[in-house]
């Protein structure tokens, strides 16, 4: 994968750094060209980093595929974008699967989920629509995750212990493995441990503190996309 350039810094310092692109994504929703600067104007591409990233997304080995002609002889495949395999995959999980996904990871379904359809623009009967991210969906997802995580952490001896460098690493690792269907990287574990042991230190209820850690993992793109 070509996009792994996240700095290995503390969560506190990463937060403001990441807030910028997330906000940028949200504002860019109104103009998709903002995202890749595909406006066709050379002057748009002043940002060297953006160019480098865009280049890294491009197809490196174009297969020799078939050609498809329209009625007027136009080559239909000419409309394909120049993207590599596997780089354009983050698709938000639909509302209808969230119950199953929460059950898979937490063993429980947040009670509020059943009443939350309107926060996700759940499509009407006989219709389909991909879930779009918005302030509403993101806030609701965190709220639901936190609710489900509180159910999980209200029992279990491991959630009765205050986080430290050792137990946070284990519990974070377990949360991430379960929710993301993969093991955490050392950097990810460090960030999560930092969150549990330091950033959430003002939360006096230790089980609630673990619930916040859990909810953070469940509110990440690694869990929310498929």
């Amino acid at each position: 994968m070509v996009l792994n350039v996240i700095p290995s810094t503390s969560l506190r310092s990463v937060l403001p750094f990441l807030a910028v692109p997330v906000l940028w994504v949200m504002t860019a929703c109104d103009d998709p060209n903002e995202l890749t600067r595909r406006t066709g104007r050379p002057s748009d591409d002043k940002d060297g980093a953006a160019s480098e990233t865009a280049q890294a997304l491009e197809c490196t080995v174009k297969p020799d595929g078939r050609s498809y002609a329209s009625f007027d002889g136009t080559k239909l495949e000419a409309t394909r974008v120049n993207e590599n395999q596997g780089v354009n995959r983050a698709r938000l999980k639909p509302y209808t699967v969230l119950a199953g996904e929460y059950r898979r990871v937490l063993g429980v379904v947040p009670a509020g989920l059943a009443e939350a359809a309107s926060s996700f623009d759940n499509p009407p009967a006989r219709w389909h629509a991909d879930l779009k991210h918005s302030g509403i969906t993101i806030a609701k997802l965190f709220e639901l995750s936190f609710e489900g995580c509180k159910e999980l952490t209200k029992t279990g001896a491991e959630y009765g212990a205050f986080p430290d460098a050792v137990n946070a690493k284990t519990i974070c690792g377990n949360f991430i493995r379960k929710a993301w269907s993969r093991s955490a990287s050392p950097d990810e574990l460090a960030e999560c441990t930092e969150l549990a042991a330091k950033e959430l230190a003002t939360e006096e209820d230790v089980r609630v503190r673990w619930a916040y850690v859990c909810a953070s993992v469940l509110s990440s793109s690694q869990f929310l996309t498929f």
């Binding site: 940028w24 974008v81 199953g100 302030g135 993969r182 990287s185």
Partner: protein
């Protein structure tokens, strides 16, 4: 009516929107300032809900966020940030999925299989994966049984209905696309039957039943569908239905022009440049297609359809005698196969295929050509290793 149309492909736009989710954390770091208009921030902040208390506590460090304080008031900033906390809190983890460090190749494979099972189940069945699927050694081996299921039929029928229509409708009788797509999948009929099959429809309680009808032409002769897309052409020609027929079969994308005051929108006006391009001169000439379809007739407030009397039309580079020959020609074309497999990619990936995926796309077309069913086309893409690679 201002029905001048021009061709425009929007696939790339759709695709780049999706790319953003992956790319944005790195690509947009330096771009905040100019993009954060106060209106945009206010609009997005207004959408946020409250979040649990510690989330707000977590936000305090974000006071150092490099947002211009003159743009955001503190309440706005807090509410906006509150909505972002879930993403930010594990922002460091918003990384490519193969950064994992599982113990050994076997564990890596197990994790990859688990992610593959999750993806397949949601993409094909719109549901979370079953426990036994999560531990499967080869999740893609289940694709054939998945596409043979009722859940797939429901999911793909909904997808097709949404792709072929402009907006959802409350009226079940106006949704023949959904009913027939589901029927064709469940009965394992050729996908072409959706467009040219001998069927008609009847409302039965909350459902629209599909019935055999030798005079049927997919759903294109079903009167409620014709009424839904009757449009407002002054002589009753179904220009809207003509476009919809082309969009459904070969994914032709046209955008209506905005008419200007005093513009002649009659057939005479449409024969003048630049309207004639789409309406009379192109291989898909909308007015000529409309002359092969029934014509709208108003009886009081009721819209009725009456048979066409215009005779054969020069279309698709030949003389086409009626709507059946028109749709059959479209469905037998390369454009139709291409459009249906592009739909398959939209269904499975949420975007069109890209240049790097042309071989997988070709496999989809081959499956559609040889096995005829949409299940086989979907399976060709979903079973390809690239679908579960990361």
């Amino acid at each position: 009516m201002g029905k001048t149309l021009r061709r425009e492909r929007t696939t790339e736009v759709h695709s780049t929107q999706r790319t953003a989710v992956v790319v944005a954390p790195w690509a947009g770091v330096h771009r905040l300032g100019p993009r954060l208009s106060s209106e945009a921030v206010t609009a997005r902040s207004a959408q946020t809900h409250s979040t649990p208390r510690a989330a707000h506590r977590l936000l305090d460090p974000i006071q150092v966020m490099r947002l211009p304080s003159r743009i955001l008031s503190r309440p706005l900033r807090i509410s906006l940030i509150a909505a972002l906390v879930p993403l930010l809190a594990v922002g460091a983890a918003l990384m490519p999925k193969n950064t994992a460090h599982a113990e050994g190749a076997e564990a890596d494979k197990a994790e990859l299989n688990e992610r593959c099972a999750v993806r397949l189940s949601i993409a094909l069945l719109n549901k979370s994966a079953e426990p036994k699927e999560l531990t499967s050694n080869d999740p893609q081996a289940a694709v054939d049984s998945m596409v043979a299921s009722r859940e797939f039929a429901e999911h793909f029928a909904r997808f097709t209905n949404a792709h072929f229509n402009a907006a959802p409708t409350e009226h079940v009788d106006q949704d023949p696309v959904y009913a027939l797509a589901k029927y064709v999948i469940v009965e394992q009929k050729p996908w072409a039957d959706l467009f040219v099959g001998p069927y008609s429809f009847a409302v039965s309680g909350p459902q629209l039943e599909v019935k055999a009808d030798p005079n049927g032409l997919g759903y294109f002769r079903y009167e409620p569908w014709l009424v839904r897309y009757a449009g407002n052409e002054d002589q009753g020609y179904l220009l809207s239905a003509s476009f919809r027929l082309l969009q459904n079969t070969i994914d032709l994308e046209l955008i209506p022009s905005v008419g200007v005051a005093g513009e002649d929108n009659s057939a005479t006006g449409r024969q003048r440049s630049p309207c004639n391009g789409c309406h009379f001169d192109a291989w898909y000439a909308l007015d000529k297609i409309a002359r092969l379809l029934p014509r709208k007739k108003l009886e009081g407030e009721q819209v009725k359809m009456q048979p066409t009397t215009d005779g054969p039309q020069e279309l698709l580079n030949k003389t086409v005698k009626d709507d059946k020959e028109l749709v059959t020609s479209l469905v037998q074309s390369e454009s139709w196969r291409f459009a249906q497999c592009r739909n398959v990619f939209h269904f499975l990936y949420g975007r069109a295929e890209n240049q790097c995926e042309s071989k997988v796309f070709d496999a989809c077309v081959t499956a559609l050509e040889e096995k005829k069913t949409i299940q086989s086309a979907v399976a060709a893409v979903a079973k390809d290793p690239s679908f579960c690679r990361n």
